[in-house]
């Protein structure tokens, strides 16, 4: 589930101040090791909530919050956590923060909460959160884990926003609910708001991202 390669760069850079390491962790989470594009984790919600940009942004914030906080707490208890029950402990920590966010959203933005439906609860089974807790937070100090969680969440949020922009623009001719392409000039392609459009958009984005990648990177990966 998790990538083993991640621990290496941090230790290779090692011994430098936390500043340098943090910067590295951030770049790694958002670009080099983007959770969706490179690690292919957490595809489910990436497809489901991207019909509108507003939904994608809320979902992205949820992921940043949950990944960062659960990473922080997993890292805090990492030395006193028995090896056998660590999965259960991690799930319990993650679920706590997901419930926290869900209740917050219900209280302050009921409409959004209804639109996202089960996908907020499904953050618990989102492989990114679990993957980071297992691969990074279980071996690294609390502050660095917090940064790593936030960076991976941000990487996820960025892709989500990109997919949502494409789908909302092509499907409804709008961005954030404001009409950009008026119906008179642009014939809306509703397919992009439906399920197949989600698969096509993500497939095409991955295609473009792979085609633009430098050759040596392409050979190194797979």
């Amino acid at each position: 589930m998790a990538n083993d390669a991640h621990a290496a760069p941090g230790s290779g850079l090692g011994k430098s101040l936390c500043g340098g390491k943090c910067g590295f962790t951030i770049v790694d989470g958002i670009f080099k090791n983007n959770p969706i594009m490179i690690q292919v984790l957490g595809i489910c919600s990436c497809l489901a909530v991207t019909t509108r940009l507003a939904n994608a942004i809320v979902m992205g914030c949820a992921l940043i919050f949950v990944t960062a906080m659960s990473n922080l707490f997993v890292s805090l208890v990492r030395s006193i956590m028995p090896r056998q029950i660590r999965m259960i402990t991690e799930v319990a920590i993650i679920a706590t923060f997901v419930i926290f966010f869900d209740q917050f959203l219900r209280a302050f933005n009921w409409n959004m909460s209804k639109q996202l439906g089960p996908y907020v609860g499904l953050i618990i089974t989102n492989c990114i959160v679990m993957g980071r807790a297992e691969a990074f937070a279980a071996q690294n100090p609390p502050f660095l884990s917090l940064v790593d969680g936030a960076a991976n969440g941000a990487g996820y949020a960025a892709v989500l926003a990109l997919v949502a922009i494409v789908r909302e623009l092509v499907g409804a001719g709008a961005i954030l609910g404001h009409t950009v392409l008026s119906p008179a000039v642009y014939e809306r392609n509703v397919l992009f708001l439906l399920a197949p459009g989600a698969f096509f958009t993500v497939g095409l984005i991955i295609w473009i991202a792979n085609a633009l990648k430098p050759r040596e990177a392409k050979e190194a990966g797979k």
């Binding site: 589930m1 292919v40 984790l41 957490g42 595809i43 489910c44 919600s45 497809l47 489901a48 259960i88 799930v91 319990a92 679920a95 706590t96 997901v98 419930i99 869900d102 209740q103 439906g117 089960p118 609860g121 499904l122 618990i124 089974t125 989102n126 492989c127 679990m130 397919l191 439906l194 399920a195 197949p196 459009g197 989600a198 698969f199 096509f200 993500v202 497939g203 095409l204 991955i206 295609w207 792979n210 085609a211 990648k213 797979k222």
Partner: protein, 196 residues
């Protein structure tokens, strides 16, 4: 309460509201385990089995324990705990009583706890206010629909091994596009039934 007839929920959850192709749940194992048809069918069977029983269990716990106590907000953590415990239990049970089934199904069981289709089925059951029978038929339909989708993709991927896919599209890219086409085909069922 939701007044949709049980059989409509069952058929709809397989075809029109397929949990994978329309609700995008269970994508991770869908992408990873769809190399071969046998693997896909094994995983599909395991998912169907676990979904049916965990939806029933979760319904009973939610309706008769959490709702009377006013603890609905704990639903997430309870559901995931029930699923994890059930999978663990089934694994021990099957290993003890049917080694043959264990070898066929056993390797897939640990993968299932993190399959979001199962937690998703439980959450949809709560959101759509199903009763017990509706929940069970929804769980069965959702599991079968998931199995059908992964078997279809595995069949296509076995054939795809012989075709010349453009290099940047290989791997995850082409799978996404193919899944999109399957989802489009399933949209053809949409006129058949209309359910919420």
């Amino acid at each position: 309460m939701n007044a949709t007839p049980v059989w409509v929920i069952f058929v709809a959850s397989i075809f029109t509201n397929n949990i994978l192709l329309a609700s995008f749940l269970g994508m991770c194992s869908f992408l990873v385990c769809s190399n071969r048809i046998e693997t896909a069918l094994g995983l599909g069977t395991a998912v169907t089995f676990v979904t049916v029983f965990t939806t029933a269990l979760n319904y009973v716990i939610y309706r008769y324990l959490l709702v009377p106590l006013g603890l609905e907000f704990l639903a997430f953590i309870i559901f995931i705990a029930v699923i994890a415990a059930f999978v663990q239990f089934v694994e021990m049970f099957v290993e003890r009583f049917s080694p043959k089934l264990y070898y066929a199904l056993g390797i897939f069981l640990p993968l299932i706890t993190v399959n979001c289709a199962i937690l998703g089925a439980a959450l949809f059951m709560v959101i759509r206010k199903y009763n017990f029978l509706q929940s069970v038929s929804y769980g069965l339909g959702a599991g079968l629909g998931w199995a059908l989708a992964i078997a279809l993709l595995a069949g296509l991927r076995e054939k795809m091994g012989y075709s010349n896919v453009p290099a940047p599209l290989r791997g995850i890219g082409i799978i996404m596009l193919v899944t999109g086409v399957i989802a489009m085909a399933f949209m053809g069922f949409a006129g058949m039934l209309n359910v919420q």
